[in-house]
């Protein structure tokens, strides 16, 4: 009897130990973190002058206002102010340094940029660039 209790206790403690030592949960493929929110929420914007900031402002506003089809067609100035040089994802990749470093997948971007988590992160960056332009 004592030995069977001991086996049960050992089994329970071993299970607990395995659970506590398990790695932290990661997003499953069926429920990943919104990629746009992840890219933007802690990202540092690096922009040199008001011309660049206005172009970033335009891009972020478009992300809040345009449909995926419209946003795919939108083009923005590059660093030097050349018109129609960059897509929206190119604009973001050039001016924002995500934290932690990560990539922005174009296909996922257009599927996810209108989700609530993305819109919150976009609005946060838009508020910051609005303040920089005041």
């Amino acid at each position: 009897m004592r030995s069977s209790r001991a086996i049960v206790l050992l089994t329970i403690s071993a299970r607990c130990a395995c659970r506590s030592a398990a790695p932290p949960a990661v997003s499953s493929p069926s429920n990943p973190e919104n990629s746009v929110a992840a890219f933007l929420k802690n990202a540092e914007r690096q922009s040199e002058d008001d011309g660049q900031r206005r172009e970033i402002q335009r891009g972020l506003r478009d992300m809040l206002e345009k449909s995926p089809a419209e946003l795919r067609q939108a083009r923005y100035q590059d660093y030097q102010g050349h018109e129609n040089a960059w897509s929206i994802t190119e604009l973001l990749k050039h001016y924002f340094v995500p934290d932690p470093l990560m990539t922005l997948d174009d296909q996922r971007f257009f599927q996810e940029f209108r989700e609530q988590a993305a819109r919150a992160a976009i609005q946060q960056q838009l508020d910051a660039v609005d303040r920089a332009l005041r």
Binding site: Q46, D49, Y79, G81, K93, H94, V97
Partner: protein, 173 residues
């Protein structure tokens, strides 16, 4: 035989910034370096290892690199502040906030000297004080020339604080 720092099962093929890398990493590093934007100085270390033999320019994907202003200043001053995720392959800081966070703000502009850091009011751009000239009139503002890695101008450029930068921003020792 030395092994790759990222892939311990593979033999080292190259030592880059003091670290051993396998042939796949060496090739990936070379490919990522070629994608770093033209204004970024230096280019060789402005890359990162994403995963699965995939090296990328910092801040971008698919050959679209990001920024370089803080990275250039950090190389000039030897700033290694921040975590691994704040630093280039050679260990220099590339985020403005981390860079200036490692220094003390200068309250009095008359105390600014060459090699002090300048940063924009919202900490989205930074440069290095190259030269300080005395004010033309007693009691006036000194003329401060800032050297910075300029994405707008596509190069490391020298510009005046009062005009190009509209006299805005802060300085850090």
């Amino acid at each position: 035989m030395a092994k790759c720092a990222l892939h311990p099962g593979r033999d080292s093929a190259a030592v880059i910034f003091g670290t051993n890398y396998c042939k796949a990493c060496e090739d990936g590093i070379d490919a990522a370096r070629a994608l770093v934007d033209k204004h970024v100085v230096p280019k060789e270390c402005f890359i990162w290892y994403k995963s699965n033999d995939n090296w990328q320019p910092i801040g971008g994907t698919g050959g679209r690199p990001g920024t370089g202003c803080a990275h250039w200043v950090a190389h000039q001053l030897g700033v290694h502040a921040g975590s691994k995720d704040d630093k280039c392959l050679q260990g220099f800081t590339y985020r403005v906030k981390v860079l200036v966070g490692s220094r003390s703000k200068i309250a009095d502009i008359s105390k600014v000297k060459p090699k002090d850091i300048w940063a924009s009011p919202t900490l989205d751009h930074t440069g290095l004080v190259l030269r300080v000239e005395p004010p033309p009139k007693p009691g006036g503002q000194p003329k401060i020339i800032i050297r910075h890695d300029s994405s707008r101008q596509g190069r490391v450029a020298d510009n005046e604080f009062a005009t190009f930068f509209k006299g805005a921003g802060s300085f850090y020792h």
